[in-house]
């Protein structure tokens, strides 16, 4: 709509001005009607006076109907600078006794004797204001009707004047209202302009709260909400900056190793030494590649949290087999025994198979890494109500209870870890579990010692049920 492009000030005027205009018109019309009413009454009274004067002339001592008026009196009666004045006197038989014109009777009926009634009618095709006066003739017992009328020029001229005199100040008044409303809106919205300027002046890094004092209640609320958002935004940005700083920090050590090993390799004096140096170099590149992948997974899982996720049903058994199959070589190299324990076929879970595979791979990989040679890693899944619980158990050193929550944070490494890890595996699993509306719990493995990582992931809704 075109109103969408209007400024707030324009919108307020748009909503305020029509009713103000309407009210002004109503007020103007009412005033006009009242003034007209009283003015007309004055004219009516003078009309009545004329009729009464005429009536009082009626009748003589003999009780006969006789109007003995000198021609000068008639001229006086008829005289009016602006309007044409008509008069007539008739009896109850309809005979016109006197007058300069036959005037129509009051359609609403003749007034009782001694009373005057006003009415409008047309005479010679002109609108005329009339007054009728009934005079009882005491001698004959007959009734006489005295009618006096005049055209409306005087009244119309007066109405025009009244209107003109009313409208001019009214227009000034209206202009005054528009001016003050415009000013008032401007003043009322000054805090909004102040906030606009305050926001416009800011650098993109400044997330400090906007001043909340001296603001009207409505705006105060908006600013408070904005400030709230700023705080949350600030927290997210801080978390991201910390992530980048941590990630950089995490990358620096292996890169240093890589540089140093490369330099040592260059200094090698014989092929055997060179081969040994290159083998170490290779191990470092593998480690760096793994770290880079993990950082990527973590940021992907975190980014995915913000976006909408289209989950599909993922079969649990195939998922487990796929993950474990890939990690068997690493386990064998470390002489760690890996097995899958499945209790029946659990229902498919709702999720992203890529992410779920990554989550389990990280948990199993972690278990293999922290289990010493000759150890055991068991991977399993069972259905528990509306969720499937994935369980990865090892008989490694375990994690002290106090640290179990912290190891789920990115880059946290237990002081006892002692193994080359990035401190990202569990964080990735944690992030992916949250993404799937699940949760991860770390407990001591049954039989004491070792670690059990359990992840609950909701099952996929049955086909055809609901969405």
């Amino acid at each position: 709509m075109w109103t969408e492009r209007l400024s707030l000030r324009q919108r307020l005027l748009f909503w305020l001005l029509p009713p103000i205009l309407l009210l002004t018109i109503v007020w103007l019309w009412t005033t006009y009607a009242i003034v007209l009413h009283f003015a007309n009454r004055t004219y009516d009274w003078s009309l009545q006076d004329t009729a009464q004067t005429l009536a009082n002339q009626g009748g003589n001592a003999r009780g006969e109907l006789a109007f003995d008026l000198p021609p000068a009196a008639f001229r006086m009666l008829e005289f009016d600078e602006v309007d044409k004045v008509y008069f007539s006197v008739s009896d109850d038989r309809g005979r016109q006794l006197l007058g300069n014109r036959s005037l129509p009777p009051n359609a609403a009926g003749n007034p009782p004797p001694g009373e005057a009634r006003f009415y409008d009618a047309r005479v010679d095709g002109k609108a005329v204001r009339l007054v009728e006066y009934t005079v009882p003739n005491e001698a004959s017992g007959r009734l006489l009707f005295v009618r006096v009328g005049e055209t409306l020029h005087k009244r119309q001229a007066m109405a025009r004047d009244v209107l003109a005199y009313l409208i001019t100040p009214q227009l000034l008044f209206l202009a005054g209202i528009v001016f003050f409303v415009w000013q008032g809106i401007g003043r009322g919205m000054a805090p909004l302009s102040r906030i606009r300027d305050a926001i416009a002046r800011r650098t993109h890094e400044d997330l400090s709260p906007l001043g909340e004092s001296g603001l009207p209640a409505e705006v105060h609320e908006q600013v408070h909400v904005i400030n709230d958002l700023m705080v949350r935004l600030g927290r997210t940005i801080t978390a991201q900056q910390r992530f980048i700083a941590d990630a950089t920090h995490q990358l620096r050590t292996p890169i240093t190793v890589l540089c140093a090993q490369a330099e040592l390799a260059q200094r090698a004096r014989d092929p055997d030494e060179l081969r040994a140096a290159l083998a170490k170099l290779n191990a470092t590149t593998v480690r760096l590649a793994r770290l880079a992948n993990q950082l990527l997974s973590l940021s992907r899982a975190e980014a995915r949290l913000a976006g909408a996720s289209a989950f599909t049903p993922v079969a649990v058994t195939a998922l487990l087999e796929d993950v474990v199959e890939r990690l068997v070589p690493a386990a064998l190299a470390k002489q760690v025994e890996v097995s899958i324990e499945l209790a029946g076929e659990p229902a498919a879970v709702s999720g992203d198979s890529q992410f779920l595979r990554e989550m389990l791979a990280n948990l199993v990989d972690n278990a293999i890494r922290y289990t010493s040679s000759g150890g055991r890693v068991e991977v399993g899944a069972r259905q528990a109500g509306e969720a499937v619980v994935f369980v990865v158990t090892d008989n490694g050193p375990g994690i002290p209870e106090a640290e179990r929550q912290r190891v789920l944070e990115p880059f946290y490494r237990s002081a006892e870890a002692g193994v080359d890890g990035s401190g990202l595996g569990l964080a990735i699993a944690h992030e992916i579990a949250i993404l799937h509306k699940g949760r991860i719990t770390l407990t001591t493995a049954p039989g004491g010692g070792g670690l059990t990582a359990s992840v609950e992931i909701p099952v996929a809704p049955a086909r055809g049920a609901g969405e």
Binding site: C259, A260, E263, L264, R267, K280, A283, D420
Partner: protein, 223 residues
Amino acid sequence: MRVLLVEDDEALRDTLSQALRQAGHGVDQVADGRAADNALVTGTYDLAVLDLGLPHVDGIEVLRRMRERQDRTPVLVLSARDGIDERVLGLRAGADDYLTKPFALRELEARVDALIRRAAGGLARLVHGPLEVDLAERTATVDGKPLDLTAREMAILEALMKRAGQVVIKTRLAQQIGDWASEVGSNTIEVYIHRLRKKLKPCGVGIRTIHGLGYLLETPGVD
């Protein structure tokens, strides 16, 4: 020189100790702050290379405790944090130098040498008659002609030249060039001294044995 290397990353620790050993230093390596603390209290080192992010006890704390004990061993701090605040914190806590990861091995070696040299009185060259040792380059020359020495022989020669004309105690010498992994015994020192004597003979510089105590670099032409 005997160096304590404190670094929790195994790969980096191995690589750096290999490089320092190749440069002729005796290297002890520990992986956490607690072990570093113990090593520094019990042993004597010419230099400590200290990573800051350590398990158990933070590197800065290790450094602070060292300085509190009046331990003046030069410390080269390694850190992945490169902020000005971090550097200032490290230097204020008593570090002699600060190296940010990643760094080139050559730079580490040059800084290690510089720190050891500074501790020795700031000399870059030691001169003894026709014999000259460049501490920065780690080379020895006789009348301008290079002397072919192994890293260990070089280390012993340096130790002797720094105290030319004075006795260098044998056990200290063994400590300086050895480390926990390869304890250098008296016999080994004797072997190195023997080889050094042979290489130094042409220029008339002699090493005298003080029985039961150690060795002394003789001033040429004095006896």
